[in-house]
């Protein structure tokens, strides 16, 4: 009896109502739903790739020259064809998903929390010296197109996927600081903040319990959209050879390697390129849906 | 005998929202004769602005006109072509909007906005910029704006609410018109300015001999100004009478409650207001839309909508209690 009552209470609470309303709004857009489904599929592939790929041994050094250069859509053995070493493109592309999503996951986990916290602090103490310091430092990182900065950092370090992730993380955090700063500094003068101050709430409480929940909307939207952006920059870096090194199956590296064989063996570049495009598209649709859902 | 300038018959208009269709106007009737001054009173959201926007056909994209007719000088404005419609807007009807901040384009200076209106009116073809500017200054002086030069060179956000509303009034007068629609012109202004702006409108109307539709929530403003008053509730016209008659002898329960709610200088305390709330237009009440809030309903009120008919001379009401079969 008690369990049912608790459930009922939750279902009637305003939080649940607003969650239901947001989901209703989200689910009415076919594009957003498509984004959700495809993103979920990509994440699934990313998590379980090594277990579900047809040829797990094709991930590293492998050669089967008898089966090399098979074009896609010909037979069911290699649905997307093979590369110059006879490795199955589908397998390597799916493993590539894993790398791309892993990069996005690592970078965003490293970057979101510090960026947001710094932005909150700067926003709350707007126009004091700490605001100036934090924002000027992040301005420096924003002053250069992200790709260039990532490239130059990678160039002075040893090229591997770990350094690529570090480089991207280093130049990504300012965007979160800036976003949070814009939102929180606007909220600084709202009445609910002043009320909390008057009541003697600690700064910690005000920043994290009053201001932060109101920033979560734009932050969540940005995180979703950023998955696509990080993967794009990551694949650009490996395209240039500064990220994952062969024979690691990374989508960007595969596009670069396949470039040598254009135009005759176009699938070696195009299939991984298509993979990149699908992930980015899925998370962009999802991110748009999240943004629409959170703005009334 | 003054001729019929405007006649709105049984207008039904709704808005499509993601929750469903919001059927706002549920049968609106309105007539204005040439030279007549008409007032419309009613609470926020009862469809006054929607009616006016339908007349000028400037409804937002999600609006739907279901049925009804709007005749201006004999022509059905809901059916005329684009050119005729634009001529109507340019030469016959002018509207002053409720929120002057929203009504002025934020990225253009005032002089650009006024001059474009003057330019598009044919009577001013071939004239030079200085002449236009001079005319603007004259207009701004007519609406009692100090320092017209500065106002002309400003952007809307640099002006106060009262100044912006005066600019809107000036824009409405930039070219000669017959009918002036003033949609709650003072609701968004400071109380101290409201009186000034109302007086200004009154002066202008009298000087130029315009027909007016004044929409307002300020009953006092309406009382001292118009010949005839319509009362609207929830998208219906529920009562119409000459001003004196309406204020002394309101028939419809809503009109009675409304007039009763106004605090009077003679004392007697505050009234209780009208119980209940404005209906949800997506699921409106059946029959008479006022019945959930009415103290005096008949069984018929829940089932059928009362027609809007004259029950006394020049006094119309939509209520079953007065319907003499």
């Amino acid at each position: 009896m008690k369990k049912i009552r608790v459930f009922k209470t939750i279902k009637q609470s305003p939080r649940w109502e607003s969650a239901r309303r947001m989901w209703y709004k989200f689910s009415r857009s076919p594009l957003s739903m498509a984004g959700l489904v495809i993103s979920a599929a990509c994440i699934f592939i990313g998590l379980f790739a090594p277990y579900i790929v047809p040829y797990p041994e094709h991930a590293g050094y492998f050669s089967n020259y008898a089966d090399a250069f098979i074009s896609p859509f010909q037979n069911s053995k290699y649905p997307f064809g093979t590369d110059e070493y006879g490795r199955d493109i589908l397998t390597r592309a799916m493993l590539g998903f894993q790398y791309s999503l892993m990069m996005a996951g690592v970078v965003l986990s490293l970057v979101v929390a510090p960026g947001v916290i710094l932005g909150l602090i700067a926003g709350y103490h707007k126009d004091r010296w700490i605001d100036m310091v934090i924002m000027r430092i992040s301005d420096v990182f924003i002053a250069v197109p992200p790709l260039v900065l990532a490239l130059s950092i990678c160039a002075v370090l040893e090229p591997n996927i770990f350094n690529a992730m570090m480089a991207v993380s280093l130049m990504w955090w300012p965007w979160y600081a800036r976003l949070t700063y814009n939102v929180s500094s606007a909220m600084r003068n709202e009445y609910f903040v002043q009320a909390a101050e008057v009541m003697g709430a600690s700064t910690f409480h005000i920043i994290f319990k009053e201001i932060l929940p109101n920033c979560l909307g734009p932050i969540l939207t940005k995180v979703t959209l950023d998955v696509g952006w990080v993967i794009l920059i990551g694949s650009a870096l490996s395209f240039v050879g500064l990220g994952a090194q062969p024979p690691t199956p990374d989508l960007g590296t595969m596009v670069a390697d396949g470039g040598k064989w254009m135009p005759d063996f176009w699938w070696m570049s195009m299939i991984p390129a298509l993979g990149i495009a699908i992930i980015i598209l899925a998370f962009n649709l999802l991110g748009d849906g999240v943004r629409d859902m959170l703005t009334e | 005998m003054a001729e019929q300038l405007l006649e709105i018959k049984d207008l039904h208009v709704g808005y499509k929202t993601y929750r469903g269709t919001s059927k706002v106007l549920d049968g609106v009737h309105l007539t204005v004769k040439t030279g007549e001054k008409v007032g419309i009173i009613g609470e926020s959201g009862c469809g006054k602005t929607t009616t006016m926007k339908t007349l000028l056909r400037i409804l937002p994209t999600n609006a739907v006109i279901y049925e009804g007719e709007v005749y201006f000088k004999g022509k059905n404005t809901l059916r005329i072509g684009k050119n005729e419609l634009n001529e109507l807007r340019r030469k016959h009807i002018a509207m002053i909007f409720q929120d002057p901040t929203a009504a002025l384009n934020p990225v253009f200076k005032i002089d650009t906005q006024i001059i474009d209106i003057i330019k598009s009116s044919e009577a001013h073809e071939g004239k030079k910029t200085e002449e236009f500017k001079a005319k603007c200054i004259r207009l701004l002086k007519e609406v009692a704006l100090p320092d017209p030069e500065r106002v002309l060179g400003s952007y809307p956000f640099q002006l106060s609410g009262g100044m912006k509303q005066r600019v809107c009034i000036a824009m409405a007068l930039a070219t000669p018109r017959y009918l002036l629609i003033a949609d709650e012109p003072t609701t968004n202004l400071d109380v101290t300015i409201q009186d000034q702006v109302l007086r200004l409108i009154k002066d202008i109307v009298e000087k130029r001999k315009l027909s007016v539709i004044l929409i307002s929530q300020a009953l006092g403003a309406v009382k001292g100004f118009v010949d005839k008053v319509y009362v609207m509730y929830a998208g219906n016209t529920v009562e119409v009478a000459e001003t004196k008659e309406l204020f002394s002898n309101p028939l419809h329960p809503y009109a009675k409650g409304l007039l009763d709610s106004t605090p009077k200088l003679t004392g007697g305390g505050f009234s209780e207001g009208i119980k209940g709330r404005v209906p949800d237009y997506i699921n409106p009440p059946s029959g008479c839309r006022f019945h959930p809030r009415c103290d005096n309903i008949l069984s018929r009120c829940k089932k059928e909508k009362p027609p809007f008919l004259d029950v006394e001379e020049n006094h119309g009401v939509a209520c079953w209690r007065y319907y003499k079969k």
């Binding site: 000027r136 301005d139 420096v140 924003i142 002053a143 250069v144 197109p145 992200p146 790709l147 260039v148 900065l149 490239l151 130059s152 950092i153 160039a155 002075v156 370090l157 650009a236 395209f239 240039v240 500064l242 596009v255 470039g259 254009m262 135009p263 176009w266 570049s269 195009m270 390129a273 990149i276 495009a277 980015i280 598209l281 962009n284 649709l285 | 000028l56 400037i58 994209t61 999600n62 684009k82 634009n86 807007r89 340019r90 002018a94 509207m95 909007f97 929203a102 009504a103 002025l104 384009n105 934020p106 990225v107 253009f108 474009d116 209106i117 598009s120 009116s121 952007y155 956000f157 640099q158």
Partner: protein, 341 residues
């Protein structure tokens, strides 16, 4: 505040950021890779010679002094020595930068013009087929990175359809014009060589499109969104109610407030274009600055890397400044309402 004050403030911010950037880049280039002297010399060199070299290059001084010396050099136009090309970095920059700029300017033009045309088309026919087409293309446009676009365009239009050349700056049978500005297209015009001019543009078309398609579809969508959002605003209803001609309302009173967010984004795109050009330059073998920089990065040529980042940073700052000025001109609220006036 007036326009001049606004510009001055923006300029100040830009300079400050550039100084900060220079410090960051300098630090990265000098400290992280390890000892620069050791990287330059043969490992068998005796330590005294290494010390002498270190002293001669000023590398034994504290880091902040090194920074100031470097800054001094930069202002004198000396960007250092390139280990990769064995020339001064300044020469390299002057040779390769205009070629990249040609590409970027063409791409920027295409992006702005294309975005306006598509965006207004979609906005004025909202919810009908031009609008849906633009919306779908914007999703496709943003998902496909520019280097993938480069490969796709090259595959279809150059390899398969042979409509455009697959790579390079000029066809092999057309001699290059004498160098005046470094901009091959301008130099061709100056020398009266119309054939070379057309040839360069022809070669630049595919890479330029690859650079700007993603951004162009995004901007078109933003313009469309702005128009649809503002269409139901009260000031448009008022303008229409005054009987202003529909064209005037659409293309003046609706367009101006609607394009403001799009212009901001367009500016950012163009500012970043030079930095993003290297991928496209690689695919199309366009002999530009970015491609040169990548090669230098492979060779760990630190001076070129530093110079590249600074040049790109400066251009980024300039373009952003110009964008800010344009936006301030379009939207008076921005320049006149800062700090809660």
């Amino acid at each position: 505040m007036k326009m001049k004050t606004y510009i001055a403030r923006r300029l100040g911010f830009a300079l400050f950021s550039l100084v900060g950037l220079s410090i960051l880049v300098f630090y990265l280039a000098r400290v992280i890779p390890g000892d620069p002297v050791m990287m330059m010399v043969d490992p068998r060199t005796p330590p005294e010679v290494i010390e002498e070299l270190r002293h001669a290059l000023g590398l034994d001084k504290p880091l902040y002094l090194q920074y100031f010396f470097w800054l001094e050099d930069v202002f004198r136009g000396d960007l250092g020595f390139s280990v990769y090309t064995r020339r001064s970095v300044t020469t390299d920059v002057l040779e390769y930068l205009p070629i990249s700029l040609e590409l970027v300017i063409l791409a920027a033009l295409i992006e702005v013009v294309g975005a306006f045309i598509l965006g207004v088309l979609a906005g004025s026919h909202a919810y009908k087929w031009p609008d849906n087409l633009v919306r779908i293309s914007s999703y496709i446009g943003i998902s496909i990175p520019s280097f993938v676009w480069a490969i796709i365009l090259q595959l279809i239009f150059a390899w398969q359809l042979s409509l455009f050349p697959t790579s390079g700056l000029l066809s092999s049978n057309i001699p290059s014009p004498p160098r005046v500005t470094g901009f091959t297209s301008l130099d061709s015009l100056i020398a009266g060589r119309f054939d070379a001019f057309v040839d360069v543009i022809w070669h630049a078309t595919l890479p330029a499109f690859a650079l700007c398609i993603g951004g162009m579809t995004q901007d078109a969508r933003m313009i469309r969104a702005g128009m649809v959002e503002n269409k139901d605003k009260e000031y448009i209803a008022m303008a229409t109610s005054q009987g202003l001609p529909a064209r005037l309302v659409m293309f003046k009173y609706l367009l101006k407030p609607s394009i403001i967010p799009a212009v901001t984004v367009m500016g950012m795109d163009v500012a970043a274009m030079l930095g993003n050009a290297f991928l496209v330059e690689m695919v199309f073998m366009w002999p530009g600055f970015s491609r040169h920089a990548i090669n230098a990065m492979y060779r760990s040529d630190l001076n070129t890397i530093v110079a590249t980042v600074m040049v790109i940073g400066i251009i980024f700052a300039i373009v952003n400044l110009i964008t800010d000025i344009i936006v301030a001109y379009l939207d008076p609220r921005i320049r006149l309402m800062e700090r809660g006036e």
